[in-house]
Amino acid sequence: MQQQNEPVLNTAAVPSMRRAGKWTALLLTAFFIGLIYLAYRLITQSSFYMAKSGAATYGKVVDRTGDVLFDGTQPLSNYGWGQFADVGNLIGDTSGQMSNTIVAKNIGLLANYSFTYGNNAGTTVLETTLLHSANRAVSNAFGMKNGTAIAYNWKTGEVPVCVSKPCVDIAQGYEGLAAMPEGSLLCKAFYPTVPGSTQKVSTLLAAYESAGVEKINALQYECTGSWTNPNGDDIHCHAEFGHGVQDLAAAFANSCNPYFAQLVQSGNVPLSDIIRTYQHMGYAVNGSEADSFDLNGITIQPGSTTLTNKDEFETEWGALGQGKTLVSPYQLMLFQGAVANGTGSAVKPYLLRSKTAPDGKVSSLASTQYTSQMFSPVAAQAVQDVMTKNAANNYSLVLGGYTCGVKSGTAQIKRTDKSYENSFLVGYCLDESCPVAFCVMIEEREQWDVTAAQIVRVLLDSLNGQIGG
C-alpha cells in the first residue's frame, strides 16, 4: 500500500439512513400541507360556523338595484309596509320558520362574521338577481288569486322574478301563523304540481326527437270531443263538439287532448322513446331515480310521471299532463329555456349575483352554466316554431309587441274536499330587450279572473329593458 496523505473524511449519510428521513419528511410534508388547508378552511368557513350555531349577526339581501329584500341588521318593521310581502317566501329570514329559502340555505354567506374582525366587521350584502319592482308588479297582477310566477333570463341564467302567492310578510312575524293561508311559507314555483297541458310541450319534444319533425307535423288525427282508447276508456276534450281533423300545429294551439292521446297510442312514437326523453328532461318515470334541482342551495324536487302501457288511460292521461304527472313550475321554465335557445340544453338559473363582505370585498356568485342535454336541438327548434306560431296566432292581443312562444295548460286538481282547475302559461320571449323563459300558474282560476297571459304581459313589461346583458 502506497503511503499517501489522509483523504478527507466523507461524513455523508448512507442511503438506508436517509430513507428514514425521507419517509419522515414525506409524513411531515403531508401533514403540513393538510394544516395549511385546514387553516384556510377554518378562516374562510368561520362565518358559516358562526351562522350555523346561531352566534352570528346577519347582513342584508338586496335585489339587483339595491332594494332591500331582507335585513338582519335592524327590525324589518323599520321598512315601509309591504316591503317584504312579495318575495318573503323565496328570500326567507333567520327565524327558522322556512327552511328552503335563500337565507336559510345561504346562512353562512349572509353572516357578518369575519375571522379577523369577528362580529364587528360590518355588514354583508348579498345581491340577488331579482328585480323587486317586477316582482311587486307581478304579485299585484295576481289580484286576489293565488299562484306562482317564475321567469329567468335564458341567456345568462339570472332569475329576476319569482313570486308565489299567498306570501308571508316576514316583517309581520309569525304570530298569526295558524291563520295564514295554506302555502304562505313556501315558494310554489319549487314544488311539483299537476302541469296540465303544458306537459304537451314535453310530449311533443319526445315525439319530435323520436320520429322526426316532418313525420310528426304531417300526422293528422280526428277529435270529436272525446276519444275512446283500445281499453275502452274515454279521453275528453275541453271542446265539447271536438276540433275535427287537425294537424299537429292546430292540435297544439287547440291543446287538443284526443289528438295527443292518439299520438301516444298510435305507436308512431314508441312509449320507450317518450320515457327516455322524459328521463333526460329530469322526470322520474315509473319510479326511476331523478336528480333534484339546486338553485343556490334551494332544493327543487324533480318532476315525475307514470307511463306503463300506451293503451292504458293512465299513461295517455299522464302524457297529457294530468293524473299522476307532477312537475314544478321551475322545471317547466327550465324546459322553455332550452327551447328558447334552440339547443336542448338550458342555462342553469341562479338567484345570487354577488356577495359584498363586511370588509367591502366583492366576490361574484354568478356563473352561467348549462344543464345536460335534455332533448335534441332539432326538437327544440321545431317546438320553438310551433310555440312561436301559437303565440303569434292566439296571444297577439295580450302579448303583442313581444316575440314570444307560449303554451297554455289547465290542470285538473281533484282533492277530497274540492276539485278545481289551475291555469298555466309557459313560454319564452325572444326579444333582445327581454330574453326570458317563464312559467305562470294561477290557482283555482274561474272564467272571469285574470288570465295567465295577462300576468305574463305584466311580467314582460316590467322586465323589458331591465335585465339585458
Binding site: A13, S16, M17, R18, R19, A20, G21, W23, T24, A25, L27, L28, A30, F31, F32, G34, L35, Y37, L38, A39, R41, L42, I43, Q45, S46, S47, Y49, M50, K52, S53, A55, Y113, F115, T116, G118
Partner: protein, 423 residues
C-alpha cells in the same frame, strides 16, 4: 464556527428561551386573571420544571438536546393551556404526568439507545405486547379500553403503541435471517409483525375502539415499507399498483364491513345533526371561529363545557382561548419531535425503523385529532401527544420521544459480540 460548535450545546441559552417563552405566556394569563395563588402555583411549577429539567440534562447527559428541549417547551405550554381552560386552576395532574413523561423519555432512551440490544430484546417486546393485549382482554370492562383501578384509570392500549413501534422496527441483519418451512422461505420477524398487527386490529375491532386502529396500521405499514426497501430490488410499477390495489380493497372492505356506529361516524353530516352526533365538532368549529387569530384570552373560552374539550377537541379549545396562530404554533412545535430525525440521522437500521414508527404514531394521532375535530375527516377519540390531557397517552408519548432521542444519540455495543470477545 467550527471551534464554537465543538462546545457542549448551549443548554443555558435554550433554557433561557424556554423560560422567556413560558413567562410570556404566563404574562398573558396574568392579563386575564391578575396575580393570584393559582397563577403563582402554575408559574413556579412550570419554571421550576424547566430549570430542573435543563440542569439535570446538563449534568447527566448532553446528547440529543433537541428532543428534550422541545419536550420541556411543549409540556410547559400544555400545562399552561390546561390550567387556563375556562377559568384558572392549576392542572396539577397534567403537570405531574408531564414530568413523568419526561422521565419516561429518559428511561426509554436508556433502554433503546443501544439498537443491537433493543433488537435482541424483541422476544421481551412480544411478551409485553401480548401481556398488554391480555390485560385489555381480561382486565378492562366489557368491550372498553380502560382499566379502572378506582383511584386511577389506565388505558393499556396507549402503552401498546410504543411496544408495537419496537416490534415494527427491524434491522437488515434480521431481514437476512431467512427460515424455510415446507419449502417456503420466510423471515420470522416479518411473520411476527403480521401476527401482532392482526391481533391488535382484531382487538380494536372487538373493543369497538377504532380510533387508534389507523395508528397501528400506519406503524405496521411503515414497518413493512422499510422492510420492502431492504429486500426489494425496486418499487416496480406492478408492485406499487398491487399494493395500492390491496390498500383500496382493504379500505373498501373496512368501510363496508365497519360496524353501525362507525358507519354513522363516516357518513354523518354534522350540520344536519348539530345537537346529536355533530355536537362536539359543531362546538369545536364555532369555538375556533370565535377565537379568531388571537383568541378570546386565556380562561375566557366556553368550549370547556363540551365533553372531551381537554382531549379529543383540545386543538379547538386552545384556538378558542389563544387563537389560531398559537394553536398552529403548538402543533408545529410537537412536529419538531419527529422532525428532529431529519437533522440528526440515525446510525442503525433498527433506530431508523423506530424513528419512522414514532413519526407515524405522532402524525396519525395529530391528524385524526385535529382534522377530525375540525370536520375534515371522521371524528375519532384520539389524543395529541403531550397536549391532550390523559396520563396514559402522556406517558406513552414520553416513551416514544425516548426512541427518537435514542436514534440521535446511539450507543453501539453489541452485548453478544462483547461476550464472545469478537472474531
Amino acid at each position: 464556527m467550527a471551534k464554537n460548535s465543538t462546545k457542549p450545546l448551549s443548554h443555558p441559552l435554550l433554557l433561557l428561551l424556554i423560560l422567556i417563552a413560558h413567562t410570556a405566556m404566563m404574562v398573558l394569563v396574568i392579563f386575564s386573571f391578575g396575580i393570584n395563588a393559582e397563577v403563582v402555583k402554575m408559574a413556579v411549577a412550570v419554571l421550576l420544571a424547566d430549570v430542573a429539567g435543563s440542569v439535570i440534562l446538563q449534568i447527566v447527559q448532553r446528547e440529543a438536546c433537541t428532543v428534550d428541549t422541545v419536550m420541556l417547551l411543549v409540556i410547559g405550554m400544555s400545562t399552561i393551556y390546561q390550567s387556563c381552560f375556562g377559568g384558572l386552576s392549576f392542572a396539577l395532574k397534567h403537570y405531574i404526568f408531564g414530568l413523568a413523561a419526561f422521565l419516561m423519555c429518559q428511561i426509554s432512551y436508556a433502554v433503546t439507545r443501544n439498537p443491537y440490544r433493543a433488537e435482541r430484546w424483541k422476544p421481551a417486546w412480544y411478551v409485553l405486547f401480548f401481556a398488554l393485549v391480555a390485560a385489555i382482554l381480561l382486565l378492562t370492562g366489557s368491550r372498553s379500553m380502560w382499566i379502572d383501578l378506582g383511584f386511577i384509570t389506565i388505558q393499556p392500549s396507549e402503552f401498546v403503541k410504543p411496544v408495537f413501534v419496537l416490534i415494527a422496527a427491524s434491522s437488515i441483519r434480521t431481514q437476512l435471517n431467512k427460515k424455510t418451512f415446507l419449502g417456503i422461505h420466510f423471515v420470522p420477524d416479518n411473520l411476527m409483525l403480521i401476527l401482532c398487527t392482526v391481533v391488535i386490529a382484531g382487538l380494536q375491532w372487538w373493543c369497538r375502539d377504532l380510533g387508534s386502529l389507523p395508528t397501528f396500521v400506519a406503524v405496521a405499514g411503515f414497518g413493512f415499507l422499510l422492510r420492502f426497501c431492504y429486500l426489494r430490488e425496486k418499487f416496480s410499477v406492478r408492485l406499487i399498483v398491487f399494493l395500492a390495489g390491496c390498500a383500496v380493497v382493504a379500505g373498501v372492505l373496512a368501510w363496508k364491513l365497519a360496524p353501525a356506529y362507525v358507519q354513522e361516524r363516516l357518513h354523518s353530516d354534522i350540520w344536519s345533526d348539530m345537537s346529536g352526533t355533530g355536537y362536539q365538532q359543531v362546538k369545536a368549529l364555532t369555538a375556533v371561529a370565535e377565537g379568531g387569530w388571537f383568541g378570546k384570552g386565556a380562561g375566557n373560552g366556553t368550549l370547556i363545557r363540551v365533553a372531551a374539550s381537554r382531549t379529543d377537541i383540545v386543538f379547538s379549545t386552545i384556538c378558542e382561548e389563544w387563537g389560531l396562530f398559537t394553536g398552529m404554533m403548538t402543533v408545529i412545535l410537537v412536529l419538531f419531535l419527529p422532525a428532529s430525525i431529519l437533522t440528526v440521522p440515525p446510525r442503525s437500521y433498527y433506530h431508523s425503523g423506530l424513528a419512522v414508527g414514532v413519526a407515524a404514531v405522532f402524525m396519525v394521532q395529530m391528524t385524526l385529532n385535529i382534522f377530525g375535530s375540525c370536520n375534515v375527516i371522521p371524528f375519532t377519540g384520539v389524543t395529541i401527544p403531550f397536549i391532550s390531557q390523559g396520563g396514559s397517552s402522556m406517558l406513552s408519548s414520553g416513551i416514544l420521544a425516548g426512541f427518537l432521542k435514542a436514534a440521535q444519540a446511539p450507543v453501539l455495543t453489541d452485548p453478544v459480540l462483547k461476550k464472545k470477545g469478537g472474531a
